[in-house]
């Protein structure tokens, strides 16, 4: 219990600051000092009051003492006088009596006055009694005077009365004095001793008075002392002796003796002397034998003189007591003053010590604490608690300053160390972070490698993307992962979403095949090839982030899939928490996206390679086909050459006949015309055979073509397929032609158009696969002319429709080359036209060709036939075919030309040179191209060799091709195809030789 209380006290005490404790101690000391001072001051005040009261009381008692003494002296004197027998004695006492009377009067009056004071009211009855007694004494005085005035004054009765009254008065005064002084008897030990001493003195005076009285009586009566008187004297003497010794003892005890020693010594000496004078006479019985050596008044005088010494002693001792009391009062007052001063000094000391402690200890300590606080905070501080003092605080401050200086150095070192440590720490942290990063990097690298390997093993995009998004969801902890591919400039198509995020993808409408618009913000930046990280999707106002946010996703990384700075898609990875991706993960995703892009690119390349391989295979097949065709073509061209050569005379003669034989019958002429047309068709057919293996020229010589006519021709040409061959198989193909009348011409090559149209019709026939309807329809609108070929066949699906124009694409298997529609497409494009295909499986196909309409101003080149040679020309004809050579010569000669012929190249050159040598220069040379030995090219070269401008017209079965391929040999001015038509030959001659003629004329 006590221990606990003490513990609590200690706890509370430890919570107090020194200042508080100091305040508490100071306050406690102050209170203690104040309490002690008040207590002492109160005690001193009481003592002071008591001392003052005592002093007053002593004053009163002195007055009473004086009064009693005065009365005693008067009593004794009067008694002596009353007992004196001779007048001389009485006369000598008169003066003394009157003096003693006035003295006792004064003393009694003074006593009365003193007793009349208000605080002495308890003594009123005594005072009244005293007054009564005193008036009695005064009354007796008159009797005494009267008695003394008588001749024989001795009056024993009066003397007794007087003695009784005055003694009573004295007793009264004594009682008063005793009663008055008694309460003060115990107040102070010294004062008590004083009082006892005074009592002894009073006793001495009393005995002295009695002695004086008895001895005075004895002397007056001049008789020996009665035995009882002697006994009284002896007893009194003993008492007196004792009283003196007691008084001495008391005076010494009370310390009074020092003050009264001299007077005491005087008084005692005086008494002893008096005693020595009278002892033998009055104290020794039987000494006196009649006749005393001194008179009574002499005795009284001596006795009163001794009493006077005693009175002086009394006064001195009264004064000493007075001084003692005054000293006591002064002492008390001094003590009060000193105590007050001490208390004040103690309080001041308290305050001063508090102030000193505050100013010199607590203040500096607080400043030191402040400075220390600043120091601990690292601020600069100086300990100035001492201000150059050399006390403990000063030493503490200087030590602290030194310590602080040391601490500064230590701190500097510590800071340095700290810096080093921090640097190390940072390095360690960096190393740890690097390690962690490396670890994460490794993990991601592993993941990357895993993904890379997984996607490396795959070739198709779909499974690559599947692996990627799956791995991202599983191993990177993505809440959503998808791959989007760029569809066009504004859209992305979702290519693949992860399995785990399928529901989320469905909720967001981002399943595979869904579309996402490229926003202005994130995706567009991603599409520019940058990795986009959106740590907080909800904060982005664009559609795509909001879409993801709507799916509960908070952070997204969009990594571009790009190959060779071409972004073809994006990898989207998202998580359902904000700030979910670290920079490492972003980097990982960027790398992954690169890998994916590369893989995707590789896959695409692979696909392209496959495609290329396929194409190559097809091409190879086509090339093989073409080789076959080429062989066929070469064979055919040989055949065509021969046929052309065969046809040439037929054509030439037919034409010549028709032109030159007006006598022909109409029927013959008609037949010849059919022959001529057949020859033309045959020539064209042969010419067309070349198309299979030769490339088209790109520069066409366009002429107005009537598509209606072409359509009719095609129907005729294809009749065999759609009618004859169908009929053979039991099919019926209805061929309709819905031709718009007055159809505008188109600019083009009729044969190409015809061929294109023929191809379309063949395709239509193939598409029917049996019976059906084929419609040829021509229409025109604005500036366009259109021709449609419609069938009711199987139609094409979308894929086929898309690919049908590609070369080598065929649905016909071995039956088709896959070149038909491709050739059509090429022809149409060369004519500045367009092709559109409407088809659906089972719905048939309509292929429309539209061309710009030709301007009307164009006129058909029909004037050739009317052309006639302007002049007679010298011509050299070179050909290895004698039939052709002859027919051509004849035809040209028929036109009036001078024609030389040569049957070979060498012969031609020789003829030409010979003619040149003769100065008969040919106006033109017409030579066959293909000849054994020297061919047409060398002939032309030879003609032109010597700087001759003689035109050379080359006849060739390949004429069309040569023109197209710019294969016209040097020196050849004009190329004509076999079989040559007279019109054409004429036109060529007219063209070549007009210039020659002009130059000749000029």
């Amino acid at each position: 219990m006590i221990a606990r209380t003490f513990g609590q006290f200690r706890t509370r005490l430890s919570g107090l600051s020194i200042r508080h404790i100091l305040v508490a101690i100071t306050a406690g000391l102050t209170l203690l000092i104040a309490a002690l001072s008040v207590r002492d001051l109160m005690a001193d005040g009481e003592r002071l009051a008591q001392a003052r009261a005592l002093k007053d009381a002593m004053g009163v008692s002195d007055r009473l003492f004086d009064a009693a003494n005065s009365i005693a002296v008067e009593r004794d004197l009067v008694l002596s006088m009353l007992q004196a027998r001779d007048s001389e004695t009485r006369a000598s006492l008169v003066r003394a009596i009157s003096e003693s009377r006035s003295a006792s009067d004064r003393a009694v009056q003074t006593a009365f006055q003193v007793l009349g004071q208000p605080h002495l009211s308890p003594f009123r009855p005594l005072r009244a009694e005293l007054m009564a007694r005193y008036s009695q004494v005064r009354a007796l005085r008159t009797q005494v005077d009267q008695s003394l005035a008588a001749p024989r004054p001795s009056d024993a009765r009066l003397a007794r009365d007087w003695e009784a009254s005055t003694t009573a008065l004295m007793d009264q005064v004594e009682r008063l004095w005793a009663g008055f002084i008694r309460p003060y008897a115990g107040v102070d030990a010294v004062v008590t001793l004083h009082l006892r001493y005074r009592h002894m003195l009073r006793t001495i005076m009393d005995y002295t008075g009695r002695e004086r009285s008895i001895i005075g009586q004895v002397i007056s009566q001049d008789a020996g002392a009665a035995p009882e008187q002697t006994a009284t004297l002896l007893r009194d003497q003993g008492e007196l002796d004792l009283a003196w010794r007691m008084s001495r003892l008391l005076a010494e005890q009370s310390g009074l003796y020092g003050a009264i020693a001299l007077e005491y010594s005087d008084a005692e000496s005086h008494y002893q002397t008096l005693d020595g004078m009278v002892r033998d006479l009055f104290y020794v019985p039987g000494v006196h034998r009649g006749g005393y050596p001194i008179t009574p008044d002499f005795w009284f005088e001596l006795s009163s003189q001794a009493s006077e010494s005693l009175a002086m002693l009394r006064q001195v001792s009264q004064r000493a007591t007075q001084r003692y009391l005054e000293g006591m009062i002064a002492q008390t007052e001094r003590e009060i003053a000193v105590q007050s001063a001490i208390a004040l000094a103690a309080l001041l000391l308290c305050a001063a010590s508090f102030w000193i402690m505050q100013a010199r200890v607590i203040g500096p300590i607080n400043r030191i604490i402040d400075a220390l606080t600043r120091v601990t905070r690292g601020e600069p501080a100086r300990f100035e608690g001492a201000g150059g003092r050399s006390d403990e605080i000063g030493r503490l401050a200087s030590v602290l300053n030194a310590f602080q200086a040391g601490a500064e150095r230590t701190r500097a070192l510590a800071v340095e160390r700290d810096l080093t440590a921090r640097k190390l720490e940072r390095e360690v942290e960096v190393a740890a972070a690097a390690e962690a990063k490396a670890q994460a990097q490794l993990e991601r690298l592993a993941l990357l490698q895993q993904i890379s390997r997984a996607i490396g093993e795959r070739q198709d995009l779909e499974s690559i993307f599947g692996v990627v998004v799956g791995a991202l969801e599983r191993q990177l902890g993505a809440d959503f992962a998808c791959v989007m591919l760029r569809e066009d400039e504004t859209r992305l198509r979702v290519a693949r979403t992860g399995a785990a995020s399928a529901r989320r993808a469905a909720a967001m409408g981002m399943t595979a095949g869904g579309h996402v618009a490229i926003d202005a913000n994130g995706l567009s930046r991603c599409m520019q090839g940058r990795l986009v990280y959106e740590p907080d999707l909800a904060a982005i106002a664009f559609a795509f982030p909001q879409r993801l946010s709507g799916g509960g996703l908070k952070a997204m990384v969009a990594a571009p899939l790009q190959v060779e700075s071409q972004v073809f898609g994006a990898l989207i990875v998202a998580r359902a928490t904000t700030d979910a991706f670290s920079s490492g993960e972003c980097e990982f995703l960027r790398q992954l996206s690169e890998h994916v892009a590369l893989a995707a690119h590789q896959a695409q390349l692979n696909a392209a390679l496959q495609q290329a391989y396929d194409d190559l295979r097809l091409t190879q097949e086509a090339v093989m086909q073409q080789e076959r065709l080429k062989a066929l073509g070469q064979m055919a061209s040989g055949i065509a050459h021969d046929i052309n050569n065969a046809l040439s005379p037929i054509a030439l003669y037919t034409e010549s006949l028709l032109n030159t034989e007006p006598a022909l019958s109409q029927a013959g002429r008609n037949k010849l015309e059919v022959v001529q047309r057949a020859i033309d068709d045959a020539a064209r057919t042969i010419a067309r055979m070349n198309e299979f293996y030769r490339k088209r020229d790109t520069q066409l010589s366009l002429s107005p073509v009537d598509l209606n006519t072409v359509a009719g021709q095609v129907l005729e040409l294809t009749q065999a397929r759609w009618r004859d061959m169908a009929h053979e198989r039991g099919h019926v193909i209805e061929m309709r032609s819905e031709l718009e009348p007055a159809l505008p011409n188109v600019l083009g090559v009729e044969s190409e158009l015809r061929e294109a149209l023929t191809n379309l019709v063949f395709n239509a026939v193939d598409a029917l696969g049996g019976s059906g309807t084929i419609t040829l329809r021509t229409t025109s609108s604005a500036n366009r002319v259109r021709i449609d070929v419609q069938d009711t066949g199987v139609g094409m699906d979308e894929a086929t429709r898309q690919r049908c124009l590609e070369p080598f694409y065929t649905t016909k298997g071995e039956r088709g080359t896959g070149l038909g529609l491709a050739m059509v497409y090429g022809s149409v494009q060369r004519h500045g036209g367009a092709i559109d295909i409407e088809s659906a499986p089972g719905q048939g196909t309509t292929i429309g060709l539209s061309f710009p309409a030709a301007p009307d101003t164009e006129t058909a080149p029909g004037a050739v036939s009317d052309m006639r040679p302007l002049a007679r020309l010298r011509l050299l004809i070179v050909d290895d075919d004698p039939i052709l050579l002859r027919s051509l010569r004849e035809v040209l000669e028929a036109d009036g030309h001078l024609v030389s012929s040569a049957s070979s190249g060498e012969a031609g050159i020789a003829a030409f040179d010979a003619a040149n040598a003769e100065g008969r220069i040919f106006d033109a040379v017409i030579t066959d191209l293909g000849m054994p030995g020297v061919d047409g090219r060398r002939v032309a070269a030879a003609v032109k060799q010597n700087g001759h401008a003689t035109p050379v017209i080359l006849l060739t079965g390949w004429g069309e091709r040569m023109k197209a391929e710019d294969d016209v040999p040097s020196g050849v001015d004009c190329v004509l195809s076999k079989p040559p038509k007279l019109k054409e030959v004429r036109a060529a001659l007219a063209q070549c030789c007009a210039e020659a003629a002009l130059s000749k004329a000029g």
Partner: protein, 185 residues
């Protein structure tokens, strides 16, 4: 105690004397001795009520000199050692003038009355209270004289002589004495 002792001794001596010796002769003798006692005691009163112009310094003794043989038969001896006016009393017997220095009171033995004029001359200018017990001393220029009047001791005083010696005699002393010669105003 000493006083008591002395008193007891004296008392014993007296009782012995009363019992053993003839009463009458003894009485006369005793009376004479009592007279000497009284005279010796009176010297004390003279010292007490006389003022010297140059009182001895406190601590110095008041010297009572007796010129000639001691008439008090040793009764002055008790006075030595007592104090008067707060000064110790010293008793000295002198037989030559050069021994008078320091004397406050000079008692001249009655047997030396012949030498008194010489002595008086010698005392001229000195503040020494002169006392003697032969008749006519005061008249002869002495200051205080024990006399016998009606068979009782009386004191005569020559105030002028005292005043001439620059001594003041107080009233208390004058009450005991009858004045001889011109009295000072």
């Amino acid at each position: 105690m000493a006083g008591l002792g002395r008193s007891a001794c004296a008392l014993a001596a007296l009782l012995l004397a009363v019992l053993l010796l003839a009463p009458a002769a003894r009485a006369q003798e005793n009376l004479r001795l009592v007279e000497q006692d009284i005279k010796a005691g009176l010297l004390y009163n003279f010292l007490r009520y006389t003022e010297w112009p140059h009182p001895p310094a406190p601590g110095d003794a008041v010297v009572v000199c007796v010129w000639g043989d001691d008439p008090f038969e040793g009764r002055l001896a008790p006075m030595a050692g007592r104090t008067v006016n707060q000064r110790r009393i010293e008793i000295r017997a002198v037989h030559a003038e050069n021994q008078l220095n320091g004397c406050a009171l000079l008692f001249i033995n009655a047997g030396e009355r012949a030498n008194w004029p010489t002595l008086r001359q010698h005392l001229q200018g000195r503040s020494i209270l002169t006392v003697s017990d032969y008749d006519g001393f005061a008249q002869a220029g002495g200051m205080l004289e024990f006399a016998r009047v009606s068979n009782r001791i009386a004191v005569r005083i020559n105030v002028a002589a005292a005043q001439s010696a620059d001594l003041q005699v107080e009233d208390r002393l004058l009450r005991l004495a009858s004045v001889v010669g011109a009295r000072a105003p």
